[in-house]
Amino acid sequence: MADLRSLPASTVWLASIGCFTALALLFTSQVWVDYNYAGRPLSWGGALVVALIEWELWALLAPALIRLSERVSFSRERWKVALAVHLPASVAVGAAKLMVEAFIIARAIGPGRGPSSSLKTHLTLLTYWGIVAATHAARHYRQARERELRAAQLETELARAQVEALKMQLHPHFLFNTLNAVSGLMRENVETADQMLSKLAELFQRTFETADVQEVPLRRELEFIDAYLTIQRTRFGERLCVSVAATPEARDTLVPSLILQPLVENAIQHGVAERPGRGRIGIDARVASGRLVITIANDGPPLPPVIREGYGLRNLRSRLEALYGTRAAFSLEPRPDGGATAVVRLPLAYDGTAP
């Protein structure tokens, strides 16, 4: 069901009129019986007119009542407020409606005694609360749908991030160059060759582990990146200089799983792999003004004025949006002395086991 607030007013009115016309037709025979019992025989046509007057008045009132129910709804925290608003409102709206209705009916079929007024009062109050209940149900349904949609979207984005991570590991230039380095190291330093293989295995293992985990402590992400960087440092030797600094507080903070990998990969690609000579990568994570701030800097060539973002960065943006909405931010900024800094800002959250 669509959000009532987002529907055009004309649609709400039309739906309301349609709904209550149907009710009027349904209640015509009831009106006919009531008036006959009250000793005031009506024709079927007269009964239909009375029923239409009774129900179309609700059609006029319904949009306003729906809006009121949307604003003052029966949630777990606010039910007392809602009761305090809707109880007097139902009595006041009901009484006013009954008076207006009696006046119009008298003009339509002539003055005279109608059916029992207590019956009418009950039905009026019941209708008011019916509208409130229907609005509440619609709202509940809508929220459940939104939650489902969001969960599904998050799952998709995580799956994509995982595919991206695997692509990085299976990328021919990464995988085969790493294997070639292992094959070279075997002839000169078995320990290093051994370490290289176990780090490569660790990359795959950690990627598979994140299959259904949206958030992990930053500590885990840094371990993942460490395995990746150990391999890259062995391959590039002195050309790649990496520094990682993270405060203990930052390490415990939850971050989206696999969030660092595309950023570090980009930093190495642009900062080191594509230009001759040495390149520096600096990874820093700290808590500042109530947020976790992660920066990944490289001293490669300056950023062009328009950045063509690859799939990895677009995926990162949409995951941040789905997980945190406006509470998270990502930016890619030029550094004054060349190179670029990627900055991720996240709300602070910890899992149950962390302090």
Binding site: N180, A181, S183, R239, P301
Partner: protein
């Protein structure tokens, strides 16, 4: 006969591996190592090796750039060394060019050396290497423009280029801070550039659309194109539609 070999790879471990394996071969003498393409071009000119083991993916000039930078008479026998690359490997197969896929083993390297020593690879090997490089290049848009200046050779990344303008028999490749002269025709270069980024705006001008700040209509359906650097260019009527289309993408 001893083969004088040069090893070119940006990864130190990979260079050490090749050197170690080659030094185990009595018919080969390693005369040097280079860690990027620019150094390789210089070393080839200076040392005149018989064979170069040439990595393809390198910063600055890559392996293919090295081949393009060399004059035909300077070119030694080339053995490309690469992690898997579909187009390149197919091109090497088609043109019967020597290559090694990483990770390679001693036996595979030995076969390559045997072919080099016995010269079974034929006389026109150099021409076939050039043809293979051309084939690969046709499959991918240009990523770097090679500039040869005063005996030095270097690469300008295409994303750093803001515009290319014809200047007599040369082209002026402009970045925001410098201009480089290359000998090439504007039509040939336009064809090799990524069409989603580089657009012809005049008979003698190509522009990088990512560098355009704004467009102002001028007389006769022409536009004045202002770049982020402040530089202004003219877009003639013939090319105006192509430019607005590229900017709309």
């Amino acid at each position: 006969m001893t083969l004088r070999a040069l090893v070119v790879d940006d990864e130190p471990v990979a260079r050490r591996k090749l050197r170690m394996l080659l030094e185990g071969e009595p018919s080969v003498q390693v005369v040097g190592e280079c860690e990027d393409g620019g150094a390789a071009v210089d070393a080839i000119r200076e040392q005149r090796p018989d064979v170069v083991f040439l990595d393809i993916q390198m910063p600055g000039l890559d392996g293919f750039d090295v081949v393009e930078a060399l004059e035909p008479d300077e070119q030694p026998a080339i053995v490309f060394v690469t992690a898997y690359d579909r187009y390149a490997v197919r091109a090497f197969e088609i043109h019967a060019v020597d290559y090694l896929l990483k990770p390679f083993e001693r036996a595979r390297l030995r076969k390559t050396i045997e072919r080099l020593v016995s010269r079974t690879n034929g006389r026109d090997a150099g021409r076939r290497v050039q043809a293979a490089v051309e084939t690969v290049r046709r499959h991918q848009p240009l990523r770097r423009v090679l500039v040869k200046a005063a005996g030095r050779i270097y690469a300008v990344r295409v994303e750093d280029v803001e515009a290319i303008e014809a200047a007599g028999h040369y082209l002026e490749v402009r970045t925001s801070s410098a201009a480089h002269l290359i000998r090439e025709s504007i039509g040939t270069l336009a064809q090799r550039l990524d069409a989603s980024r580089f657009v012809r705006i005049h008979r003698s001008t190509i522009v990088n659309v990512d560098r355009i700040r704004d467009l102002q209509p001028a007389f006769h359906g022409e536009f004045v194109v202002t770049l982020h650097s402040g530089r202004r260019l003219r877009c003639s009527r013939t090319y105006a539609a192509g430019l607005t289309e590229a900017l709309g993408r």
